[in-house]
């Protein structure tokens, strides 16, 4: 049972880190960035490819992977979001444009074979791969009944540190204050002399970089890197997490992530492995029906 709780905290950390990025963009822009799960996958795939196919060290690969994810944030903003803001399109249009970008990113990885257009990015096509043992030092300890693998245990402090850092930046720094102003009221923020577009770019870049980190942690710890890890593991669960915690609330996303990890693990223990997905979504549905603002949401925003 202790092992199950540890697993819940470990997978919950990844959910939380992923969802923090999701909710950050929603909080500032009131838009669901459906390309976020593709960026999650891209971070993992690129890091793997740099180590295995390009002979980089793991650390360098991670740095490039995170940087590329952040850069993808700029692409999301400039291709999918800013043109629609300029045209005052309804937020529903951003759902379609980010889905389009997610399709492109996943397809680029999916088609990556030696000799194809994206062969430099990925050569394993639609297959699921894992870092071969020994690529990354992964000592394993046994304490009582518990099995502690370094690659899984490390996920917890890394995600907690990143989320604390983000919380600090948003709460206590000048940049964070500007971000909150833009989230509260973009027009007033502009009148106060803030460069709103720049703050939004920054938001999407931070969000995507965090998504990339979450993807790398997922890929390393679970030994599953494929073009579909984002879609299959976090895309919709990320929604469940931000709803559980309250849309747009960062502490909410953190708590929601761990809560979802616990719910899923206990569902598996109590009802068998088939229940894992269904229970999460039933929880999501119930939460929205009973307490739509989530655990930490202050008020419901009524925008589409």
């Amino acid at each position: 049972m202790d092992q199950q709780i540890l697993n819940a905290i470990f997978i919950g950390s990844i959910y939380a880190l992923f969802a923090v990025g999701y909710t950050l963009v929603f909080g500032v822009l009131d838009i669901l960035n459906l390309a976020h799960s593709a960026v999650f996958m891209l971070g993992a795939a690129l890091t793997y490819s740099l180590v295995i196919n390009h002979g980089q060290s793991f650390l360098v690969a991670c740095i490039i992977g995170v940087a590329a994810s952040g850069l993808m944030g700029l692409v999301i903003e400039h291709v999918c979001l800013r043109p629609l803001r300029r045209r005052r399109a309804p937020p529903i249009a951003a759902l379609i444009s980010t889905v389009g970008l997610a399709l492109i990113i996943v397809a680029a990885i999916e088609q990556g074979q030696r000799g194809t257009l994206f062969g430099w990015l990925w050569v394993d096509g639609a297959n699921s791969v894992a870092f071969p043992p020994g690529t990354i030092p992964n000592p394993t300890w046994h304490i009582g009944d518990l099995t502690l693998e370094a690659s899984k245990v490390a996920v917890i402090p890394i995600s907690v540190a990143l989320m604390l850092a983000l919380g600090y930046v948003i709460r206590y720094t000048q940049v964070g204050r500007a971000l909150r102003a833009v989230a509260e009221n973009p027009r007033a923020a502009r009148l106060m002399g803030l460069d709103v577009d720049r703050m939004i770019s920054l938001t999407v870049v931070i969000s995507s970089a965090l998504g990339g980190v979450a993807g790398i942690l997922f890929g390393v710890a679970l030994g599953d890197i494929s073009p579909y890890i984002g879609r299959d593991n976090v895309e919709v669960r990320g929604l469940a997490v931000i709803v559980l915690g309250g849309m747009g609330s960062i502490p909410g996303a953190v708590v929601g992530g761990y809560l979802l990890g616990l719910i899923e693990v206990f569902a598996v223990v109590a009802l068998g492995s088939g229940a894992r997905g269904g229970v999460a979504f039933a929880a999501l549905f119930l939460m929205l029906v009973l307490r739509p603002q989530g655990l930490f949401g202050a008020q419901l925003r009524e925008k589409i």
């Binding site: 492109i104 397809a107 929205l288």
Partner: protein
Amino acid sequence: MDFFIQLFSDPVAFWNSHTLLIAQIGINSILASSMFLVLYSGQLSLAAPGFMAIGAYTSVLMDQYWHTPLALNIAAGVFLAGVLGLLVGLPVLRLRGVFLAIATIGFIEALRLGVILNVPITGEGLGLKNLSADPLGGIYLVLVSLVVVLFVVWRLTKGRVGAAWAAIRQDELAALSQGIDVARYKMIAFVLSAILAGFAGALEAHLNFFVDPGDAQYGVARAVQILTFAVLGGSGYVLGPVVGALIITLLPWIFQAQGIYINIVTGVFLIAVIIFRPQGIVGRGGLAIIRPAWWPRRSRAHAPSPG
């Protein structure tokens, strides 16, 4: 390209060799109309695949166990989808915008992952064989149904109900203050949309020998696809979502020449359409596309006079 050449040079051969594709376009158009109904009344509901699953599984299981006639099977599927629409609508229709979308995603995935994949009668993850499927004969049923559905939806939007929906979509509070029973009209749209989705699901099951409980069939991927039909086609007019369904279903044929890069080209296409025509392909502004910021402006003297 051969695809379109054949369409014009030899329509009969085209019909014979692409019957299934045409039927799929018909079904997707009915789904697009289902999405149109909720969007037209200002609700971003992604519940359609859940109701499709109800329609499909009900009709196929009835056929398998009781050998009842097709019409009765479809009717039962549609009826159950409508009842479930009412039951789901009661709690979720208080939600708006993205919250409604996410709640309906919760509904479809809880239904698919929690119920369909865990109840032995549905064949769980293995899917369900449908031995009485009629892929070629079913097309007439699909096309006739599509025409009827489009006519009914179009009449609805032109009538009292449609006026109420439009008012709710534009400003729910104002509609309420005008004495419109907002909750009731939203529920009407939601249940009708569930009925159409259940109907499309039952029809689709009738065309296939196999009911597949995958994500692309009854999961989020399908929901997003149906939303794309409506938004890309234009959700302000009845025909918009149908045009969207037609184009998106045909994309694999349109971009056939791009081979393995087809999904990349499709993604670029989706982004380009939504950026240059956020209101959808069928919508206000005729054929004009919205000029991107970097596009050189034409001087006034050369611009065509409006109207």
